[in-house]
Assembly symmetry: C2
Homo-oligomer: 377 residues x 2
């Protein structure tokens, strides 16, 4: 269980198979985000038909509502949300530092105010493990101190070192929790260090020292830093990341980010942009973005993306989708969300195919030129 097999490689780009308790995941792979135990606006069958092999759950949100004790009593997150395939939960670290009124951080953990009712809460390395164990995802993430994107070297170093110390506690607690059933959930560490190459190296070295691990995540990116900076961090880490472990770039991304991440050796991605953009009527196509509300779609009988085989594109016209957005019918938000999720999932599977054929970099160049061309609306 939790094995990762490298099926093919082209320079840094990789194609692999990750074995998880609820099924296998072929990489590169985009994981839709199911914040509250549902991918926003979508039915689990729609997520499955969009091709999702694995989805995320957010520990912070599920801890606040409905509470992990409710999810556990209802049979765990898979049963609660009626999702039979693999799931991954984040640790709550990112949300605690970004969403909530963070009150106090010390060596033990973080005190924060719920963004829902203002109640005072506490999250620690141990609690993050206990909550994720109660939720029951296939993959749990270590509790990390996420420094802001613009953090100074000193601040980023402090957060990174604390994350390493917390990792040791996460691991200990996770081993205790899973002792009786070690094949049910694995724990992945998170590389931190902001935009500072030396800190990223030290973070990764510390993680590898406290291993072994079945996968490694890269956190604290795509938080406002310029894209080339993110690319440099990935390029800096790639040579030292174990080849035989999946690499998960957290909170990324947009279509072009997947292409750049895959080119730099990333296997797994997650991001809310697919559904968020879908709800706002912004659709991704091979020729770039389409604004679904645009007046020029009014009488357009063609599909949103002529090359797409998603449920929205196979069935509905651009003109109808535009009408749904203009009339503020939820069905429009749903259909464009399905399209965007499928678009990223298909991008992952197309990349995989190209890597296995050894043609990824050539294909990626053509993809970039077309996607970023002036034809884009």
């Amino acid at each position: 269980m939790f094995e990762f097999n490298l099926d093919g490689q082209e320079q840094e780009a990789r194609a692999g198979t990750l074995r998880l308790p609820h099924g296998n995941v072929l990489t590169p792979c985009f994981m839709p985000v199911g914040t509250h135990g549902a991918v926003r606006g979508l039915h689990p069958d729609e997520v499955m038909r969009a091709g999702a092999q694995i989805i995320l759950g957010n520990t912070y949100h599920l801890h606040l509502r409905p509470g992990e004790e409710v999810v556990a009593a209802m049979g765990g997150l898979h049963q609660f949300a009626s999702w039979p395939r693999p799931m991954l939960t984040d640790s709550g670290g990112f949300q605690v530092f970004s969403l909530s009124g963070m009150r106090r951080i010390d060596e033990d953990g973080v005190e924060f105010k719920s963004h829902i009712d203002g109640s005072l809460r506490r999250l620690t390395a141990e609690r993050a493990m206990e909550i994720q164990w109660a939720l029951g995802a296939d993959v749990a993430m270590a509790f990390d101190h996420v420094a802001p994107g613009q953090a100074s070297h000193d601040d980023a170093r402090e957060a990174m070192e604390r994350t390493l110390r917390w990792l040791v506690r996460c691991r200990e607690r996770h081993i205790e929790l899973t002792a009786a059933d070690p094949d049910r959930q694995t724990l992945w560490p998170i590389v931190q260090g902001g935009v500072h190459a030396d800190l990223r190296q030290r973070s990764l070295a510390g993680i590898l020292d406290s291993g072994p691990w079945t996968g490694i995540a890269i956190g604290g990116l795509s938080v406002g830093e310029p894209k080339p900076v993110m690319h440099r961090v990935l390029e800096g880490l790639a040579p030292d990341l174990p080849k035989d472990r999946p690499r998960y770039l957290m909170g990324v991304g947009f279509p072009e980010d997947l292409i750049e991440g895959i080119a730099r050796g990333v296997d797994l991605f997650d991001c809310v942009a697919a559904t968020r953009n879908g709800r706002h009527g912004s659709a991704w196509t091979a020729d770039g973005k389409v604004q679904v509300r645009g007046a020029r779609l009014r009488l357009d009988q063609g599909p949103l993306d002529p090359e797409c085989d998603c449920e929205a594109c196979r069935r509905f016209s651009r003109g109808y989708l535009r009408h749904l957005f203009v009339a503020e019918e939820q069905l429009g938000q749903r259909l464009v969300s399905i399209h965007n999720v499928h678009f990223l999932i298909r991008l992952g599977s197309m990349a995989r195919e190209q890597i296995l054929k050894g043609t990824f970099h050539q294909w990626a160049g053509e993809w970039r030129r077309r996607y970023l061309s002036e034809a884009s609306e």
Copy 2:
């Protein structure tokens, strides 16, 4: 085409089959409302799987957005909205008098302000026919002057008489429009007259004089008058309504209204309550209403309605549905809407079965006792 066959009868309650261009409709039948060319929050496949044989479109809304010329250019409402089964459009009369800033009414028609952009618009008997022909539903409705529920005898009489005069113009224009293709769309008149028995009789007599018709609607009810008043109007009309024509009670209703309407000879119903209540987390069950947000559902692993075979009840727990509402996930609104729509559709088909067996009135009594019992939340 447009034939109605009476398959069975038990006192006033009727079971029939209505033949329409896009398929047959077994009655009694609830028709979900697709205001903007979509049943709110639902995918056409969900509406179909909920058992809908026919849905409504709103002429007023579709005229304003996207405009009937757009719908026609996109192949008509069936193709635009991807709905292959029968459709009925109302005439816009009800919305013009209830929703819009109605400016002026005269013998020719109504001047009103769009509730969307405040623009000044005009609807006449002829325009209502032209718009509905462009939309292309199987059944078009006559343009009527809908008086408020509390209208005096004088006001109700004036509106009813005007509706009769408009009916003659509707018919003339409809015959012209359908001349080349008379099997594509039929026109149904609307009985008006408020809560006044004599006016209702005169309205019906006027309609029958200007016939023949393939169906007859009863409008201006369920607009605030007490339920017994609505029942008396239905009882007053039943003996004089042609037995061999379908009867459509517009804008009704709630589950108990369907039972009462069917008992009084109604064949077709429509109402937005199923989806509106669904969006607000109010679910209908055989034991009455369930408030899905209720704290007592928190750990409830059972289905919303144990006797229901809808997609929501077969797959999701009450606890999960409650969570979706508390977390404000759209999927919750969708699932409870599906349930409510299916509940009304199933009520129609159960009633049909009972009528054909001659046990409707006994069954209806038991149904009422249970649905209206104290067990209801």
